[in-house]
Subunit: 376 residues, 2 copies
């Protein structure tokens, strides 16, 4: 994996770059649609490619391990072949999911024992096991196994957890060194900065993470309930330490405005279920503000969902029709809302990149921010 | 509306033709995907047009009347503008739905009073009312208001119901003559042959229906539980009477083999929820036979869903992946299965047409029938 830093904004820490993987280039800053179980919910791979212009999608190690399982994935020749997405894929480590989704779980130095949310079966995720699963999945970028602490979190717990995450990182690196990619392409490991909301811990974690010389670095444990301002402060201080010549990935963030702010702090990569999950609930992000499309006020609004947005659905279906689809519980409602929101996110980071290259990123950000946050 | 009869098969009653409407041509025989509430479930309008090559879709008067309602449809400029499908649309009369879906309902000479299955509100559908609603919807082909008798049905009930359906037809024709299309395009009325499974009643109804000189004619009240052979017998005898120079529409039919048999009896148009509804339940029609994709046997079958089928989904997603999507309850499962099945149906009638034109329809039908019915 290679990262080329192409331009730096002069008024902020924003950067434009490109990541080169075995499955193609990714232009940063980038948003990565979440395809939990190997499918970005309600969107086809063709729509992702041709209409949303996604460059990289996410898969979840926890979900893919449980279904379809590593045996099927290996026989298929990896996730790219299994789901037919031939561009870059990133898989998370499952650390977040074993803590948030599974039933009784126990965190030990060895790893996390947990029960499947599907059938209650018991499993152990250790750093080694998670590396092996990610070898079976075959994503281009794979994440180190970490513990994502909740918010709020006691200082002592945060410190001990962070230290264990660092020890787990060493085990991940060791295991990767002892194993090979199963499908003849390189897999880059991104370690994850933890430390909850404690600035000194975050600083310490950033330094440890940076010292490993990995191909990219991630910030975890944010956007878990803490105030936005605190998230920005921590992101800023962590970005200050993480190496400039490697991509920086802020995990699980966030709203469109969270993304723009974080780009200005030096983040290059984002993922979040918000555009798809909120879309399925009828919440649409548009250039003019946020819409609850189920609201009666849209029943006779025959204007396009968002004519400023490049995707076909946004321009060619009306608010009134989409509202009708939601009210009538039509599956097409979920499809169009997901297409629109994902396209909105992808277009946002694309524009951000253009404005970084043009040199007027902060001006542009200020200009669009107010409208975007409006509740329509 | 115009119907051009282009070719007649010499070994059967099969015909190839074209219907010309204000929203474009329809090549017959044709299958019409069902878009109950103005959306073919789980399929976008672009996919219908570009991938499935649908030429005409159905809307349901009953559903569209309840949601979004005629006021919204009129303000939108009709269903074509509301849902963005710019090709031909046919709407049924709601006769079938008021009987099958609504709660307490009462059939009288005036019409049918019924309760909405959504909110229990009371409404009256009369022939006049149903013509008015179909004016508001603005479909290219609209159906007369009829009573669809259940199977089995007593002779006396079938006769009286049929006679009332004939009187209702006269009222439909009168109402249409007194009103105008709301959107400056012609709307063609198709009357419906009834008479349950009584051949003399069916003969009588066919003669009455034919005598009205409408642009096309439909056969209702079949595929409601009667044996297949009986359905074919009645279809054959009715086709014998219905005018040759008008399209014949067999309502609500059916399996791929029902469609091929009925084409050989002289039917030109079909609709059925089977490809979409059964698709959503994991039942796939393929050139090699019928598949229950949820079955464990497909878990490691990485071959395309059906490589003989022209649609992108059928050729580019594997059986194993589609099975995984069903097991993981991913929305994409419903989308891909619907796309595949609809494409299978549309490709089937397209091929039927080609073989009618080529002169080897019956030979071809015999050849593919056995494989198609296989349970895989």
């Amino acid at each position: 994996m290679k990262f080329n830093l192409i331009a730096k904004d002069t008024c902020s820490k924003a950067r434009a770059g490109e990541i080169i993987t075995a499955h193609g280039k990714i232009q940063t800053p980038i948003f990565m649609p979440v395809g939990t179980a190997g499918s970005v919910k309600a969107v086809t791979q063709e729509q992702l490619e041709e209409d949303i212009h996604a460059q990289i999608i996410l898969g979840n190690t926890y979900h893919l391990f449980l279904r379809p399982g590593t045996e099927v994935l290996e026989k298929a020749g990896g996730l790219h072949r299994f789901n037919g997405w031939h561009h870059p894929i990133l898989t998370d480590s499952g650390g977040y999911q074993v803590l948030s989704l599974s039933g009784t779980r126990k965190i030990k130095e060895e790893g996390v024992t947990f029960q499947s949310h599907i059938d209650g079966s018991r499993h152990l995720f250790s750093p080694e096991k998670v590396m092996d699963i990610q070898r079976s999945i075959g994503a281009d970028i794979i994440m180190a196994f970490d513990e994502c602490t909740p918010y709020p979190c006691e200082r002592r717990y945060a410190r001990e957890s962070m230290e264990m995450t660092h020890r787990w990182l060493d085990r991940c690196i060791k295991r990767l060194g002892e194993t090979k990619s199963l499908y003849d392409h390189e897999q880059a490991l991104f370690p994850i900065v933890q430390g909850s909301t404690f600035k000194d811990l975050r600083k310490q974690s950033s330094e440890v993470i940076s010292s490993k010389g990995c191909d990219g670095n991630a910030i975890g444990g944010l956007s878990v309930g803490e105030p936005e301002e605190l998230m920005y402060e921590i992101t800023e201080s962590v970005c200050h330490i993480l190496p400039e010549d490697k991509p920086r990935y802020l995990m699980g963030v966030g709203t469109p405005w969270n993304i723009l702010e974080s780009i200005s702090l030096g983040i290059d990569m984002f993922d979040c279920v918000m555009p798809t999950r909120n879309g399925r609930n009828g919440m649409l992000f548009t250039s003019k503000g946020v819409i609850n499309i189920r609201n009666k006020k849209w029943a006779e609004d025959f204007s396009p969902i968002d004519k400023e947005n490049p995707c076909f659905a946004s321009r060619n279906y009306s608010k009134a029709y989409l509202r009708h689809l939601f009210v009538a519980k039509e599956i097409l409602a979920l499809q169009l809302a997901s297409l629109h929101n994902l396209s909105f996110y992808l277009n946002l980071v694309k524009q951000a990149r253009e404005h970084i290259l043009q040199g007027d990123f902060m001006e542009w950000k200020k200009r669009i921010m107010r409208d975007m946050k409006e509740r329509l």
